[in-house]
C-alpha cells in the first residue's frame, strides 16, 4: 500500500517468507558477515540472544513468544493476533499506549507481528533507553490489566485491519482462501487474522487465560542487537527478566499432523471486486526444519523472483497470460505450503493460466536448472539477506528466527552453507517430490458478476471495465 503504515500490523505470510527465506552466508564474493552473538539461558527458561554493533547509537529489542495463530483457542480464530494488539494496552505499571511513550516519543518506534507460529514484539530506540525497554518488556510479560473499553476498542481496530487487508483489496480474500483451504486438519487452516464472528466472541477472560498459558519466560526469547554493553545487558536482564517466575503448568503444544494429500482438490470461489480472474495452486511441503527447505527456497526464487524468473518470463512476458505471477515457499514450523498465485491478463481464461503454470512446473521437474540460473538465485537470496541485515532490527529478526523457528541460533551463520550446497539435482528432486497432482489444491477466484459468462473481452470492453469497476 502506498499509505504509510504506522500500526501494529498483522504479519502476513509474505514478509515472513522474506525473513525466513533468506538465511545465508557465502563463500567467494557474496559473503555475509557473520553475526557474532551471545546465548544465555535464564533459570526461568527464558533465552537471551544478543549481538553487539556499535556503529549506530541505537538498539533493537525483540521478544519472540513461541505462540501463533495455530494456538488460537477453539472458536476464537484470530485470537493470538488480537492478543498481540492487547499487549500494547495497560499492564501492571504501564497505562495503555505507554510503549509508544517509551519509543515513539523519544525518536524510536515499536511494532509487532503475529503469524501461524510466533508472535514477535520489537522496539528500536536510542541506545541509552535500553534499560527502560527491558523494564517495559518485563512488565508486560508479568501481566496485563487491560479493561473492557480498551479491549473492545482494540478489537474494533483488528476488525478494521481485517477489512483493510482482506475485504478492501481486490485479491485479499484469495490470500485468505489460500491460508484457510490449504490445510484440513492442522490448525494452520485458521487464517491468522481470524473471522469477524470469532473476534466478536473474544472476551477479556480469554485474554487473561491466553496470557497465563503462553506469555511466560520459558516460552520467550529476548533478542537484543545494536549498541549496548554486554555486561550491563546481563545485569539488567538479571534485574528485570530473571525474577519472573516460570509457571508450573505445562505449555500446550499443537501436535496435530496434517495428513498427506491423496488427490487433487479444486475450489471455485466467486467474489465481488475481482477486477481480473485469478488462480492459486498450493502444495503441502515439510516443516522449515526439513533439509528440503533450502532447495524449495531456491526453487521459488528461480520460479518467481524478478523479471528473469521463469514465471515472469513465460507467463507475463512471452505468453502474456498473467498480469502477475508469484511463488511463495511459506515455510512454517509444523508443515509448509508452497503456493502460486496468478492474476490473469485481461481476456485470459483461468484454464489457460493453470495450463501455463503447470507447464513451467513440469519443466523444472523434467530437466535440471542451468548452473547460471542456480547461481543467480543464490546471489538473489544472499543479497536479500544482506539488505535485511543492514539494520540491527533486521539482524535481530534473523537471529530470532534461527533460534525460535529453526531451533538453533547458530543457523543464522550456517544456513548459507546449506543454501550454497543446493544443487540443480536437489531442485529437480524437490520439484518432482512435492509438486504432484495428488498434492495439489487448485483455487479459481472469479468475479461474481460473471459467474456464467466468458472472460474473453475486447480491449474496448477492457476500458469500460476499468472505468466502471464492478458495475452491477
Amino acid at each position: 500500500m502506498k499509505q504509510q503504515k504506522f500500526v501494529r500490523v498483522f504479519m502476513f505470510v509474505v514478509l515472513f517468507v522474506i525473513a525466513l527465506g533468506c538465511s545465508a552466508v557465502s563463500r567467494a564474493q557474496g559473503s555475509l558477515p557473520r553475526i557474532a552473538f551471545r546465548d544465555r539461558n535464564l533459570a526461568n527458561g527464558m533465552r537471551v540472544l544478543s549481538a553487539v554493533d556499535h556503529s549506530s547509537p541505537t538498539v533493537a529489542i525483540q521478544v519472540w513468544y513461541h505462540v501463533g495463530s495455530k494456538d488460537d483457542p477453539a472458536g476464537r480464530s484470530g485470537f493470538a493476533h488480537l492478543f498481540e494488539h492487547i499487549m500494547f494496552k495497560a499492564t501492571k505499571n504501564m497505562k495503555s499506549e505507554m510503549m509508544d511513550r517509551l519509543t515513539e516519543d523519544v525518536g524510536g518506534f515499536n511494532n509487532a507481528f503475529t503469524n501461524a507460529d510466533v508472535t514477535v514484539y520489537y522496539e528500536v530506540v536510542p541506545s541509552n533507553y535500553l534499560e527502560t525497554l527491558l523494564w517495559a518488556e518485563a512488565d508486560r510479560l508479568s501481566g496485563l490489566t487491560v479493561d473492557q473499553p480498551n479491549f473492545q476498542s482494540e478489537r474494533s481496530v483488528v476488525e478494521e485491519e481485517y477489512r483493510q487487508s482482506y475485504l478492501a483489496p481486490p485479491y485479499g480474500m484469495l490470500e485468505y482462501l489460500i491460508e484457510q483451504q490449504s490445510f484440513i486438519a492442522h490448525p494452520y487452516k485458521r487464517p491468522t487474522i481470524g473471522s469477524i464472528e470469532d473476534l466478536d466472541a473474544a472476551s477479556l477472560e480469554n485474554v487473561r487465560a491466553f496470557h497465563n498459558t503462553f506469555y511466560r519466560p520459558d516460552n520467550a526469547t529476548l533478542v537484543v542487537a545494536g549498541d549496548f554493553d554486554p555486561k550491563q545487558l546481563d545485569a539488567w536482564v538479571d534485574k528485570y527478566l530473571a525474577p519472573i517466575a516460570k509457571p508450573s503448568i505445562a505449555l500446550p503444544r499443537v501436535n496435530v499432523k496434517e495428513p498427506e494429500r491423496t488427490a487433487e482438490r479444486r475450489i471455485t470461489h466467486y467474489a465481488s471486486n475481482v477486477p481480473l480472474p485469478a488462480i492459486a495452486l498450493t502444495y503441502l511441503t515439510p516443516s522449515q526444519k526439513n533439509p528440503d527447505a533450502a532447495a524449495l527456497r531456491v526453487a521459488a526464487t528461480i520460479l518467481a523472483q524478478g523479471e528473469s524468473s521463469r514465471l515472469y518470463r513465460s507467463l507475463i512476458y512471452e505468453q502474456q497470460v498473467a498480469q502477475s505471477a508469484d511463488a511463495t515457499p511459506d515455510l512454517r514450523e509444523d508443515a509448509s505450503v508452497f503456493y502460486f498465485n496468478l492474476v490473469l491478463a485481461s481476456g485470459k481464461k483461468p484454464e489457460e493460466g493453470e495450463r501455463a503454470l503447470l507447464a513451467e512446473i513440469a519443466k523444472m521437474q523434467d530437466a535440471p536448472v542451468a548452473a547460471a540460473e542456480l547461481d543467480k538465485a543464490k546471489n538473489q537470496l544472499v543479497t536479500n539477506e544482506l539488505r535485511q541485515r543492514e539494520t540491527s532490527n533486521g539482524k535481530a529478526l534473523s537471529l530470532g528466527e534461527a533460534a525460535v523457528l529453526l531451533g538453533d541460533p547458530n543457523r543464522v551463520n550456517t544456513d548459507l552453507a546449506q543454501l550454497q550446497a543446493v544443487s540443480a539435482a536437489d531442485v529437480q528432486r524437490v520439484m518432482k517430490k512435492y509438486f504432484t497432482a495428488a498434492n495439489r489444491l487448485v483455487i479459481y477466484y472469479l468475479p461474481k458478476t460473471e459467474q456464467s459468462t466468458s472472460y474473453l473481452r475486447s480491449s474496448e470492453d477492457q476500458t469500460r471495465r476499468v472505468m466502471g469497476g464492478q458495475g452491477r
Binding site: 557474496g30 518506534f109 543479497t383 458495475g471
Partner: protein, 497 residues
C-alpha cells in the same frame, strides 16, 4: 497488504539528537518497588551523518557519492529531473511508460537479457516516473556495483523502445490499472489529485488512464526520452560501501561519454493551479467496496517553501502512530487500522492528504474527524508536552531513513533534485528543534485551513450517504461506473440524481 515492513536501522543514529530535548520519562520518586516506574535513560551517545561529495562531469551530469561502510551494499540511482509532470494532458502516463520501457531492450540487450544480467548480480533495476523525476535504481553487493552501473547506463542511454515492447507494456499497464482501480484507497487518491489540481499537471494520474494509455505510441516515447533523458538534465547518486574516488571513476567510465544534445534544455512548465479551487465533497459509489476510503485533500506547499520545517512538524502533529488523527480515529474510537496524513512537497505546490479506511457505516464519522482535527490545529496552540515528542518522531524517522544504502541515496537524491545543499542534512535536527507551538498554529492556519479542504469518500454509498449529507449538503455522488479520471469533472455523464 498489511505487511509489517521490516524497518531499517543501521549506521546513522538518532540517539543524541532526540534525547537532547526529550525529558527523561518519569523519574518521579515513588515508594514502590524498583519495577513500578521505568528506569530513566542513560547518557545519550552522539551521532554522525555521512557527508555527500559531488562532481559535475564534462557533459553536465551531476554525480554525488555518499560513503557509508559497514554493510557490503551499494545503492545507485540515476534521476532525470522530469517525470509525470511533463506528460502532455492527453498522454498522461507517458513519462512512466517511458521509464518502464528503458529496461525492455537496448541496442545490445533484449528485455530478457537485461533482466538476466542484473539479476545475476543479485539486484534488479527499478525504473519508474514520479512527480518531478524519472528514476532508475539498483541495489547490489558492493563487489558488483561496476557491472550493475554498466547495465544501468545501457538502459538509460540506449533504449530501443521496440514497437512490440510498447504494445506489451500498454496491455500490462491497462491490466495494472484495472487491478489498482479495484482498491478504494487508490481511487480516492486519484480523485483527490483531480479535485486539488484540476487539469494542471499534478492532477493527472501518474500512470495514466485507460484512455491516455491507449493513445501513447512509440513516437511519443522516443520524443519524451530524447527531450528529457540527457546528461545535463540528470543526477547520478551512489551511496553505501564504496569510496568516493571509485564512485566518480565508475561514473566517468559509464556516463562520461553520454553526449549532451546541442538543443537547449526543455523549459520547465510553470505550475498552474486551478483558478478557483473551491472545495468539494465527492463520493465515489462503489457498492462492492469491503471498506470505505476517506480522504481529506487540499494544496500544501512547495519543497522549497521557507516554511518547510514548520510544515514537517505540523504534519507530524497529525500523523504517525501517536499523531492526532490516529489518536482520535484508531486509538480512541477503534474506527480504523490506521489514520494519518502526508504533506507531499514537490517542485511546485504539492498536495496535503489526510486519510483513513473504515467500515462503510462509519465513513461519515471519520470524514468529520479528519476535518475537525485539521481545524483544531489552527484554532488552538499545541501544548509543548505534545509538540516535543512529535518533533522527536520527525527526527527519528529522518535518521532511520539514512540507515540503509537505499534510504541514504533516496534522501540525498531528493535534496539534489530540488537544488537544496547537502549541509541541510546537518541542519535538519536544529531546524526541527527550533519549531514552536506558535509556528505550528501559524502554519496550520496559513497552509492547511480546513475551509479549503475537499473530502473524498470511496465506498458503498448507501451505508454512509445519509449521514454524510447531513454534514455536507453539497455532496456530489458519482457511481464508480461513471467515474472519469481524465478531467476534473470526474464523470462521464450528467448527474442523474
Amino acid at each position: 497488504m498489511s505487511i509489517n515492513k521490516v524497518p531499517n536501522v543501521a549506521l546513522i543514529s538518532l540517539g543524541l539528537l532526540v534525547t537532547l530535548f526529550v525529558t527523561p520519562l518519569s523519574t518521579k520518586a515513588q515508594v514502590a518497588t524498583p519495577q513500578a516506574t521505568p528506569p530513566p535513560p542513560a547518557m545519550p551517545r552522539s551521532a554522525q551523518f555521512p557527508k555527500p561529495v559531488e562532481k559535475t562531469l564534462g557533459n553536465g551530469l551531476r554525480v554525488i557519492v555518499v560513503e557509508r561502510h559497514g554493510s557490503p551494499l551499494v545503492a545507485a540511482q540515476l534521476l532525470v529531473t522530469n517525470g509525470a509532470e511533463v506528460d502532455p494532458p492527453e498522454l498522461a502516463g507517458l513519462g512512466n511508460m517511458t521509464a518502464n520501457l528503458l529496461t525492455k531492450g537496448t541496442e545490445k540487450r533484449s528485455a530478457t537479457q537485461i533482466a538476466e544480467a542484473i539479476e545475476a548480480l543479485g539486484g534488479s533495476l527499478d525504473a519508474s516516473a514520479r512527480w518531478d523525476s524519472s528514476r532508475v535504481g539498483v541495489n547490489v553487493m558492493s563487489s558488483k556495483i561496476g557491472p550493475a552501473l554498466e547495465i544501468l547506463s545501457d538502459v538509460v542511454r540506449r533504449p530501443t523502445f521496440k514497437e512490440d515492447e510498447v504494445e506489451r507494456l500498454r496491455q500490462q499497464t491497462l491490466d495494472d490499472l484495472t487491478v489498482e482501480l479495484g482498491q478504494p484507497g487508490s481511487i480516492a487518491r486519484y480523485v483527490a489529485a483531480r479535485i486539488v489540481f484540476g487539469d494542471a499537471p499534478y492532477g493527472q494520474p501518474l500512470a495514466g488512464t485507460p484512455q491516455s494509455i491507449a493513445r501513447i505510441d512509440r513516437k511519443d516515447v522516443v520524443t519524451y526520452h530524447g527531450r528529457f533523458y540527457r546528461p545535463d538534465n540528470a543526477i547520478l547518486v551512489l551511496g553505501g560501501d564504496l569510496k568516493a574516488a571509485n564512485g566518480f571513476k565508475l561514473a566517468q567510465q559509464y556516463f562520461g561519454d553520454w553526449s549532451k544534445p546541442s538543443t537547449p534544455l526543455p523549459v520547465m512548465p510553470v505550475s498552474k493551479l486551478p483558478a478557483s479551487a473551491s472545495p468539494r465533497v465527492v463520493v465515489i459509489d462503489k457498492p462492492d467496496a469491503g471498506q470505505a476510503a476517506v480522504l481529506l485533500a487540499r494544496t500544501g506547499i512547495r519543497r522549497k517553501d521557507p516554511d518547510y520545517y514548520q510544515g514537517l512538524v505540523t504534519n507530524s502533529m497529525l500523523s504517525g502512530y501517536s499523531g492526532r488523527l490516529n489518536q482520535e480515529i484508531r486509538i480512541k474510537r477503534g474506527l480504523s487500522y490506521g489514520a494519518g496524513s502526508t504533506l507531499d512537497t514537490r517542485r511546485e505546490v504539492g498536495p496535503f492528504l489526510a486519510s483513513a479506511q473504515t467500515k462503510n457505516q462509519s465513513a461519515a464519522e471519520v470524514a468529520g474527524l479528519l476535518l475537525s482535527e485539521i481545524d483544531r490545529l489552527s484554532s488552538a496552540a499545541v501544548p509543548d508536552l505534545e509538540l516535543t515528542p512529535r518533533k522527536a518522531v520527525v527526527i527519528g524517522n529522518f535518521a532511520r531513513n539514512l540507515e540503509t544504502a537505499s534510504g541514504l541515496v533516496a534522501q540525498v537524491a531528493s535534496l539534489a533534485l530540488y537544488g537544496i545543499g547537502f549541509d541541510e542534512i546537518n541542519r535538519y535536527i536544529t531546524n526541527v528543534q527550533g519549531i514552536t507551538a506558535g509556528d505550528v498554529q501559524k502554519f496550520a492556519g496559513a497552509h492547511l485551513a480546513a475551509s479549503n479542504a475537499s473530502i473524498i469518500v470511496v465506498g458503498n454509498a448507501k451505508e454512509f450517504l445519509p449521514a454524510l449529507r447531513k454534514q455536507f449538503p453539497q455532496v456530489e455522488v458519482i457511481p464508480v461506473a461513471e467515474m472519469d479520471l481524465n478531467s476534473a469533472l470526474l464523470r462521464t455523464k450528467q448527474q442523474s440524481n
